[in-house]
Subunit: 485 residues, 4 copies
Amino acid sequence: MPNEVKSLNEECGVFGVFGAQEASQITYLGLHNLQHRGQEGAGIVSSDGKKLYQHRDRGLLSKVFADEADLDKLVGDRAIGHVRYSTTGNNSIANVQPFLFHFYDGEIALAHNGNLVNAVSLRRQLEEAGAVFQSTSDSEILMHLLRQNKHLGLIPALKKSLNQVHGGFAFLLLTKDKLIAALDPNGIRPLCIGRMANGAYVVASESAALDIVEAKFVRDVQPGELIIIDQQGMKIDHFTTNTQLAVCSMEFIYFARPDSIIHGVNVHTARKNMGRLLAQEAPAQADIVIGVPNSSLSAASGYAEEIGLPYEMGLVKNQYVARTFIQPNQALRERGVKLKLSAVRGVVKGKRVVVVDDSIVRGTTSKQIVKMLKQAGASEVHVRIASPAFRFPCFYGIDISTRSELIAARYSVDEIKELIGADSLSYLSVASLIKAIDLPDKGDAPNGGLTVAYFNGKYPTKLDDYEAGYLASLKAQTAREEGKK
Amino acid sequence: MPNEVKSLNEECGVFGVFGAQEASQITYLGLHNLQHRGQEGAGIVSSDGKKLYQHRDRGLLSKVFADEADLDKLVGDRAIGHVRYSTTGNNSIANVQPFLFHFYDGEIALAHNGNLVNAVSLRRQLEEAGAVFQSTSDSEILMHLLRQNKHLGLIPALKKSLNQVHGGFAFLLLTKDKLIAALDPNGIRPLCIGRMANGAYVVASESAALDIVEAKFVRDVQPGELIIIDQQGMKIDHFTTNTQLAVCSMEFIYFARPDSIIHGVNVHTARKNMGRLLAQEAPAQADIVIGVPNSSLSAASGYAEEIGLPYEMGLVKNQYVARTFIQPNQALRERGVKLKLSAVRGVVKGKRVVVVDDSIVRGTTSKQIVKMLKQAGASEVHVRIASPAFRFPCFYGIDISTRSELIAARYSVDEIKELIGADSLSYLSVASLIKAIDLPDKGDAPNGGLTVAYFNGKYPTKLDDYEAGYLASLKAQTAREEGKK
Amino acid sequence: MPNEVKSLNEECGVFGVFGAQEASQITYLGLHNLQHRGQEGAGIVSSDGKKLYQHRDRGLLSKVFADEADLDKLVGDRAIGHVRYSTTGNNSIANVQPFLFHFYDGEIALAHNGNLVNAVSLRRQLEEAGAVFQSTSDSEILMHLLRQNKHLGLIPALKKSLNQVHGGFAFLLLTKDKLIAALDPNGIRPLCIGRMANGAYVVASESAALDIVEAKFVRDVQPGELIIIDQQGMKIDHFTTNTQLAVCSMEFIYFARPDSIIHGVNVHTARKNMGRLLAQEAPAQADIVIGVPNSSLSAASGYAEEIGLPYEMGLVKNQYVARTFIQPNQALRERGVKLKLSAVRGVVKGKRVVVVDDSIVRGTTSKQIVKMLKQAGASEVHVRIASPAFRFPCFYGIDISTRSELIAARYSVDEIKELIGADSLSYLSVASLIKAIDLPDKGDAPNGGLTVAYFNGKYPTKLDDYEAGYLASLKAQTAREEGKK
Amino acid sequence: MPNEVKSLNEECGVFGVFGAQEASQITYLGLHNLQHRGQEGAGIVSSDGKKLYQHRDRGLLSKVFADEADLDKLVGDRAIGHVRYSTTGNNSIANVQPFLFHFYDGEIALAHNGNLVNAVSLRRQLEEAGAVFQSTSDSEILMHLLRQNKHLGLIPALKKSLNQVHGGFAFLLLTKDKLIAALDPNGIRPLCIGRMANGAYVVASESAALDIVEAKFVRDVQPGELIIIDQQGMKIDHFTTNTQLAVCSMEFIYFARPDSIIHGVNVHTARKNMGRLLAQEAPAQADIVIGVPNSSLSAASGYAEEIGLPYEMGLVKNQYVARTFIQPNQALRERGVKLKLSAVRGVVKGKRVVVVDDSIVRGTTSKQIVKMLKQAGASEVHVRIASPAFRFPCFYGIDISTRSELIAARYSVDEIKELIGADSLSYLSVASLIKAIDLPDKGDAPNGGLTVAYFNGKYPTKLDDYEAGYLASLKAQTAREEGKK
């Protein structure tokens, strides 16, 4: 979740609605409940059946639509919206979605959550043939493919194009008379459908966005599906049948809202189960259990219940954002300024504390938390991570693809324990992670229908452009492990 | 705490530091951890021993100091700061503190948390004698009294003036060479002293503001004390010895941060105790216990532990603020738009739920929460309030002084239960509240050294200007109760 | 006029209206045409006969009222407004007018253009008696005096107070039922009265503000007058009869809009006359005459007509404001960056140019202009100043009171000519200045009813607090002149 | 010029520099002096020889670069910039230039002033072949053509592409190692080259932009030329030799700055000549001559000199912008609120006034001016227009292409005189316009090397996509004229 002390970042959330008056206002509400998926840009494209209308800008949703008039001009009963996370340097306005394309034969808007693994090679092929891209985003590629195939007609062209892109993706498209949703063949990114009391259809990255607009959950979009919504209603089609479920496990561990339900599993409940199983796998001799707010509170309460220790509020999160330029004198800075988290002295003083966190990325925050708790008087600090160790990059839309900084890729658990200053450290096993989530519709899909490649390096798709980089990282890892022996 | 779904509002937080380089930056940090005490205005006055420098404006701290230069120009090693809550209509820039007064014989800055009960009559007397006020705040009165008494010298004049004002107050004053703190004779508002590693003294409304600047807690300011800090160090003086401890119980129930320690009691721990005692007084036949985030989570976990039911996350708070102008079509609005809170369907569905809240003011939020939980599938909703029923106004700095809307002042517990649609409703008793807080330095003060007038109408001070209003409200209440018989 | 390349600054403009619906909107329009008198702050106070409503902030009028709602909330049929210029360091929000004072027995708003010469001593007396000032502005003093005298009743108290303040001043006051205007005994600052078609009265610093609201000019406020406007109409009273007209000549030379009429004299016409008389006093052998836009264009055209040379556009003013932080590399900066003015090469190339300017303050701009014209190919540059040389400070509201940088106070005309690099330099004589303006109602007032102290050191009032400073400056000047001999 | 009371709008200005440190700061300065050519968007792309860096946004230059950091990040010694005017509805950020395109084989930035007459058909052809446009601007077309031709190599591909586009255009392109400028075969839009003292080359829409960066004028870019600037210096090439000079006469009449020199003619001088010739063609029995500020002042002074009447300042322009939402009550609005212009009563009262304006578009402003002058007391108002009557649309970059509102296309001179309430009205003849400008390098080009199609319907290029629209307008006009007979 956003404003967390972690540096894992989801790359976007999408929302669409068809058939509801004030569709742009409904989309605003939906995006409000998806804001945790991206805080660096937001936009909405609406249509009244005649034209498409757009507003987008950098920043939080509330800033982008700070002026009421900007929302009012997005008229019509259909709309799609997007919230965007972006890595530094690419936060250009040109990359803020939904993209809106004007063609002589019509307008199309596009919103995308995910990452294509063959974007670089596809883009090069397209550019060789004369294509001109304005964004640096891989999302624009689909539109170029679609136009290359346009002689086939919209839906066949779209199906063909969706088979040309590889990776994890949830696409929403809006034309003046259709709202279209498509999900990758592994269903890596979440996407679900709801229906409002007035019959309007809603599509959203998470079910929490259905709740805020009082839409009833209808179904999850399934791998390889193409959903077409128009005046005649909703049609469920598909662009491929070569599919296999591999939902991103990080959605359950960290990204999604606790009140969302993904493929039948409530996120909070999954996290609580992770905490329970972690307690079974890695109990600790301690007095109290605390969680790192907010994303780890579910797991912490599960851990506490399972092990039979009191669950306490040992860390408090500051809900206000401080200006980043505030840097008091060196002495103060060195002792560590805690703008986001505070330890509750009255709770942890003199106690052996189990602190449950959902993940460790670079280890710097964990180190600060341990230090903070000890300064507040904790006699022992036992760190328990309610997910397996991150060792491999994500290529499907989470911003850890380029990070050589994954601490677990470079150090053993014992080494990490020393680095962060904990009295003990344990991670959840991959098997327990799968068991904690326990997807009802997993069938016989590997890994219980989840993508757990971040932990074991086994990716559900070909890696295409990333193949070389992945192999290099794998080799380095093996070499490191060999060296240890 | 701020951004809560409640409409109780603290009227300010104060912070001061003397003897630390970049004092204004340290004050910014301190105010950052006091931001929950006031979000409608903020300011800092600093001094380098020669002049006083000021910056203040409406809005959150991060907005007021959005431009780095505004903080940089506040040079010097001493500063005071203020965060302000204000009632609608008075949110003029003229009322944003600290006030800075320029006199021919020196400059004085003033920051105030609290409310004076004789402000109206004092102001009238002063105006009759020719005084000109620029703010509508009662805080300015002290400065006029101080100047009327100025022939006595600063400290004697201040002591005399502090005896002329009645009510609950924590004042900070800054001259070019002194930082002065004063607390009302009942210690109604919290105020504590800390010390940084470099010897600098810090004064703050809550100890959480000491923590963020890594100052060690020294002591609470005691009722009637006058603390004078200058180059020679700290001197503890007093302006009256006619004192009796009566700390505002609402600080423990609702306002203060859970990590703060007030008169030796950790706020989180006190809240957890309130939950425990509430479970003893008012157990419920249920499956799970949930709290209203964030201020009621401590009490909810105490309730759950005591009663032996699972403590679950049944409500999630949205950490992003939505634009208030978003008002979708009537149908949607009527069904209630939940921008701030969401129920976790996966948790509450089919369950008998105890929802613990810290207080009920007007009842509208409680009604929404019950409805939201039932819509999410809860089979029963039992509301448990971890404080006694609010029946009387606060005259010491909490914004419920003018509220005829206190639901508990007009309805019985049974009536309220019906109004909010709960299956059962119970409040904590005053006795249990006092027991839960259990102030170590209460001595033989009435009500365990707490102000509990909001619940029982027994105020620790004379009410002066409010006497008539109070009597009227009391009479109305009695009449109502009589009528019931 | 503002955004000019000069560093002379008027300290404010005032506007008031009584009896017109949407009075605050009318006041906005009036202030729009007075914006040249102050760009650093603006505000309006309105009344509906029951309460007073205020909005004010730092910055240009269009920024202060950027949000339409801020104007809409200023309801009622009466209002006063203010635009403010301020010297660096005092640009605090506390100093932005109109001030609004809330007393137990009523509210009063105050707007002021001018400067009091006994402000320091009055303020000291008041503070000795316990008065508390919030602004550093001298304008607040009148309110303190008024309240000291309040037992007399509003109008008598005001008359007494106006006799206690000395200097140049135009005051507007607004209570819930009265709009009051007062002008100093010498009428130094301009102030005039108009009437709208619907009967509403308007009071403004300049007649150009009457024009924009389509009010007909009624009369100038005369020295020592007190104008009281209420539901019964307008009453012309006075607070003193010991008066003598001494209108600030700088209003005609530089500050006022060319379309304004002050005491019967159109400002553009006066300036054109200054140019004509300057041509008679100081002709030049040249090919063309140009003016420094915008304030010197009238004088330049008069000079050209009188001398019979073509009047050309040799300098162009950029109407857009550049960011001040733009500082290209040193080489470029040294050659002088011309963000505000550009020479017209096609006009001046190979020509002997007379450039007419209205004044020289520090000389730096004149030096740049001469250099710019020569770089553009002018063969000779003859500078003609359409006013006498500034040698003495203004104590009545123009921001040159503290300037030791007045070039003409330190150097002779010949020396200045050398310093600015001109081929010749002449100023207008004081006698010609008086003749050019030629006030119709001057009677037998000295200096034709004008204040020309900036040129000859003869002030129309006692100088009170400034006496010592003035004498010192006079002595230094005499010493310098002696030294020359 | 911008902020004028006219509704003619130039569609952009361009600036480029190669070989100067802090190239983006220099570009900012250049754009500052081109701001009158477009106020609705601005941007700069720079390069350090390795990468291209971009910042652009809607609004004035000073707003777009309000944050110093936005300019600082545009590092390198080469840059191009753009200021944009846009018609309502298309003011999307996607249309703000320079465009920056990222290709796998390099980056290219593009800035454009002008309009292509075959944009619609070219775009359709490109889209048929799969091209995806993000902007609605015709400028993007050149990039698509360039990429279609890229197998030829950059310069040959560019030459071929420039022959495919028709109309009036000045293009600047920046790659990491080249700055390229191209001008249409008729040289309709102005573009000139300068050189800084350090050897850096500068290209700009107007010579006024060379002046502010202290670059010496080198030459005008000639029709059909392709200028290539790189580390080796400047190379003058061409993409066609089928050229004929037809400079837009509106640049001289209205758009360009008076200090600019276009094809050897100073704009102010040309305007003054227009005024002189207008006086010969259409003298008036009057007392004074005034101009409409600012763009008509040159012509007015020429008229006055030629006819021997005093040139006066009878209209004053307000240099501050008022909020557009200010709409006082109906009565006031009907009498006409003059936020931008004011008549100088002291000048025009009782006088027969000649008011010189540069053009009439819709006639509404002229009507207001006449009314304003009469209300201020003018006894007669004779309107003289220093250009021929606008009867035909511009297809080369001036925003009158879609205007059926051209008053002179629908009414005779006599009718217009009545509509605007003038006592007499005359326009300049086309022959005198040509004579007034008198281009030195016109050779035997028709119309003295100028485009005067707006007056006589004879366009210098084929009209392609606009042919049908033009013919229709011509037919309507003829019909109207026939009907009059």
